[in-house]
């Protein structure tokens, strides 16, 4: 065994259990991790914070063998560590407790704990039920004695499910446990329980990496906080010297790789078009939400993961059900709140998920562009499609928003990400919408296409459409919007006009859920 109490190395924290240096990872043109270095001591709880897309999840995926780094070195207990897959990582003692728990709901607690490697017996290699029970009881012993190993996971509350997930990791002798946003779906009591458990694990010598955007939790739980931004580690602060302000200052100030089109100077925002009153969506914790959009106005919505941004947009368009509330377009109530009714009122919605909700992938560009306006292509009592209109309209749209394609007959699956996004935008613009809702309009498109999309948004707004733009990149909202609202757990925290835009205030509102000062 290694001598972990050796005299050399980190004096105050003991020898590192895990050491990472120079880890680099690119996904296409995105530099997700840029020469990241990190160390973790025995019995230490390390917090990792950063805004959406800062590289936290990628780093954890590298540590747990889900993603292979391009370059870089990792050492675990002094030995070289290069996991090829999650199984590999587990064998070496690193376990990732997933954000979305990865349990089999239809199985029992004990079965889930042993699922990756059931003990077997006899010549038929049947599952050794007795041994399964023993392993489960032993693992649960130190975590939660109340939990019945024979209970079906489906019947458990979220907090208990998480305990099962942790037991699963402990049973496999994990020395390093990585928690990725573990409190998103926990009640406050369950959260306290989890924190007590994490402290217990620490005192038993386990090392823990804790990722969260709830700074308060990170500060109270962690011995050390690492701040990430743009795939780099930009700060490594001890518990004693950490403050919310210092961390937020490190989180913002990201260098934006693209430029923005000039903000229109002659802009005159018009009368209100869309009004959302008292919207409640319990699943997303959205309660009594209000919003007004005006003609020519571009309103940005920012918030961390789980803030309820997408759910808000989906509710307005009637994609998902709401508990109560109303949406008025040009003063008329949109009822019932359903996509087809919303469309009839002049609302359009580009969803975050282009592949499964935006485009008919195996169909052609022309079919996709004319999908929303299909009804209007029909003529006569039999609603016969006017093919020359269909072609004409589609051709005009391709020119208007300059979709690069060899022809209208091109299968949209074969277009680039940016052109696919324009195709989704195009199918909605065919309707000349009064309100355009964009959920992550620049997701998965390259820098050049992003710039084109920003210009397009300005143009659409200038022609009189009210635009609601959701993004997890606050820089692009700062660059494009007239107004930004920040959401935190289903609530609007602040609502800033362009002249009051302030990066730190926006980040503070998104992370802490309160307006600065």
């Amino acid at each position: 065994m290694m001598n972990t109490e050796g005299p050399a190395g980190g004096a105050q924290r003991g020898n590192p259990v895990l050491e990472v240096s120079g880890v680099d990872k690119r996904f296409g043109g995105v530099h997700a991790l840029n020469s990241v270095a990190l160390s973790l001591a025995k019995g230490e709880v390390l917090g990792v914070v950063g805004e959406n897309g800062a590289g936290k999840s990628t780093l954890m995926n590298v540590l747990s063998g889900v993603v292979l780094p391009d370059t870089g070195e990792m050492h675990l207990l002094g030995e070289k560590y290069s996991p090829r897959n999650p199984k590999d990582a587990e064998r070496r003692g690193i376990a990732l407790i997933h954000q979305e728990l990865s349990l089999f709901l239809n199985l029992t607690v004990e079965e889930n704990i042993c699922i990756d490697d059931f003990p077997k017996r006899g010549i038929f290699r049947a599952i050794d039920r007795k041994r399964v029970r023993e392993i489960a009881i032993e693992a649960l012993e130190e975590l939660d004695r109340e939990l019945n190993p024979r209970a079906q996971v489906e019947t458990l509350r979220m907090g208990h499910r998480q305990v099962v997930e942790i037991a699963k990791a402990i049973q496999k002798n994990a020395g390093v446990l990585i928690f990725d946003e573990p409190t998103t779906s926990l009640s406050s009591r369950e959260k306290q329980n989890l924190f007590r458990l994490i402290s217990d694990l620490r005192s038993r010598g386990k090392s823990i990496i804790y990722i969260s955007h709830i700074l308060e939790d990170v500060f109270s739980l962690c011995d050390r906080v690492v701040v990430m931004r743009d795939g780099e580690v930009v700060g490594d602060i001890d518990r004693e010297s950490v403050t919310p302000e210092s961390v937020i200052r490190l989180m913002v100030g990201k260098e934006f790789s693209g430029k923005f089109p000039d903000y229109p100077t002659d802009k005159e925002i018009g009368e209100p078009v869309l009004a959302v009153n008292g919207l409640c969506v319990p699943e997303a914790k959205i309660e009594n939400l209000q919003l007004t959009l005006r003609r020519k106005e571009v309103v940005g919505v920012f918030g961390m993961v789980g803030a309820g941004r997408s759910e808000f947009a989906r509710a307005i368009f009637g994609v998902d059900d709401i508990a109560s509330g109303e949406v008025l377009c040009n003063g008329e109530p949109v009822t019932p709140l359903r996509p087809d009714i919303a469309i009839n009122h002049g609302i359009a919605f580009l969803t975050e998920n282009r592949r499964n909700e935006g485009l008919f992938m195996p169909l052609t560009l022309q079919y996709n562009l004319t999908s929303v306006c299909l009804e209007r292509l029909g003529e006569g009592p039999l609603s016969v499609i006017n093919e020359s209109n269909s072609r004409g309209w589609a051709t005009r749209m391709v020119e208007q928003i300059s979709i690069k394609t060899p022809g209208l007959g091109k299968n949209v699956a074969l277009l680039s990400g940016g052109n696919q996004q324009k195709a989704v935008l195009g199918k909605w613009l065919m309707q000349n919408p009064a309100v355009l809702i964009l959920d992550e309009p620049t997701k998965g498109v390259d820098v050049g296409a992003k710039l084109e999309i920003y210009s397009l948004i300005h143009r659409i707004a200038q022609e009189g459409t009210a635009v609601l733009m959701i993004s997890s990149e606050y820089e692009e909202l700062l660059g494009v919007c007239d107004r930004i609202i920040v959401m935190h757990y289903g609530r609007v925290v602040i609502d800033l006009n362009r002249e009051d835009f302030d990066e730190e205030a926006i980040m503070m509102a998104a992370v802490e859920g309160k307006a600065a000062k």
Partner: protein, 328 residues
């Protein structure tokens, strides 16, 4: 429509047509009576029944579903129709009244089944696969119970005449009905908003819903179309066989699936049309006839048909992976 999709299916249709001609030539050389008037007339009559029922199912398949219940709908249609018009104690004695009434009832049976299937699929969110499998067994059971497993024959001449009357002594009336059904359905599918919408919904119902299309209403109507086609096919079958029996529809089960898959339909949805399906129907009927003339046994024929389904569905799947496979 200068669309990639249609172009592809056009090429596929042409290959299928070339193949059909080839089979006819083979048949003509191999079996001397293959091109005889009687045989051709018979093949056209068989195509009419299979073609009409398969056209209805094609609608459901384009939409990404399946309707297995059509075969037992046909069986039930033949026994109920026969029980109304039979001269041996039929429900209505005078053929002048009994035949129109029977035709209305037979079509209504199809519509009724379609409505039940449609409600189960759209309101209860049941998969069409399991829904129609269940209604298939239901229909089969009711038909058997209704006749106490016997055959009802002795039908009035006027009704049998529907399938015996032919133009130029070779084209039976039912075949003209098939042509009418294909012309209408092909027009609806390829030229109208209703038809075009089906391809969108079949390709991706969620995108269709967010694009404002009435997904459920559309799906419901498809089962009605499938049902009414099965009703019509059952009525023709009754006329052709001059009897109603609870097992009359069963033989078509495999042939419907083979015809649709060969004709360019995909069980994954979003593809195919009734013209293609009809080519598939001709293919099946010619193949059945040639193999029958050669005296090939039914189980060998089944092996061939099974292989054909695997082959055409497999090709479709491979093609789909090639165009949209990345990232999944």
């Amino acid at each position: 429509m200068a669309m990639l999709d249609t172009t592809l299916s056009f090429i596929k249709d042409r290959i299928l047509i070339a193949f059909l001609l080839l089979m006819i030539v083979i048949g003509a050389f191999a079996a001397p009576n293959f091109l005889s008037v009687v045989n051709v007339r018979n093949m056209l009559l068989q195509s009419a029944v299979l073609g009409i029922v398969a056209a209805g199912v094609t609608f459901v398949v384009i939409n990404g579903g399946i309707d297995f219940s059509v075969t037992s709908q046909m069986s039930l249609v033949t026994v109920v129709g026969a029980s109304i018009i039979t001269l041996e104690g039929g429900l209505i004695a005078n053929p002048v009244y009994s035949i129109p009434v029977a035709i209305v009832v037979m079509l209504s049976i199809g519509l009724g089944f379609g409505a039940v299937n449609g409600i189960a699929v759209t309101r209860l969110n049941m998969p069409s696969f399991i829904t129609t499998l269940a209604t298939m067994m239901l229909g089969q059971g009711i038909a058997t119970l209704y006749t106490r497993a016997s055959t009802i024959s002795n039908l009035p001449e006027q009704f049998i005449a529907i399938s015996r009357t032919r133009i130029f002594d070779i084209i039976p009336i039912p075949f003209l009905l098939l042509v009418a059904v294909i012309v209408v359905t092909q027009f609806v599918l390829r030229k109208t908003v209703f038809g075009r919408r089906m391809y969108y919904i079949g390709t991706n119902p969620e995108v269709a819903r967010i694009s404002g299309m009435p997904v459920k209403r559309n799906v419901f109507r498809l089962f009605l179309i499938s049902g009414i086609c099965a009703g019509l096919a059952g009525a023709i079958l009754l006329s052709r066989l001059a009897s109603g029996a609870p097992a009359h529809g069963e033989q078509f089960f495999l042939d419907i699936i083979v015809a649709i898959t060969i004709g360019g339909g995909s069980v994954l949805g979003g593809k195919g049309d009734t013209f293609g399906t009809t080519l598939g129907v001709f293919f099946i009927v010619i193949m059945n006839t040639i193999l029958g003339l050669f005296g090939v046994s039914w189980f060998v024929i089944n092996i061939i048909k099974g292989a054909l389904i695997l082959l055409s569905a497999g090709l479709d799947s491979v093609k789909r992976m090639a165009t949209e496979g990345q990232g999944t």
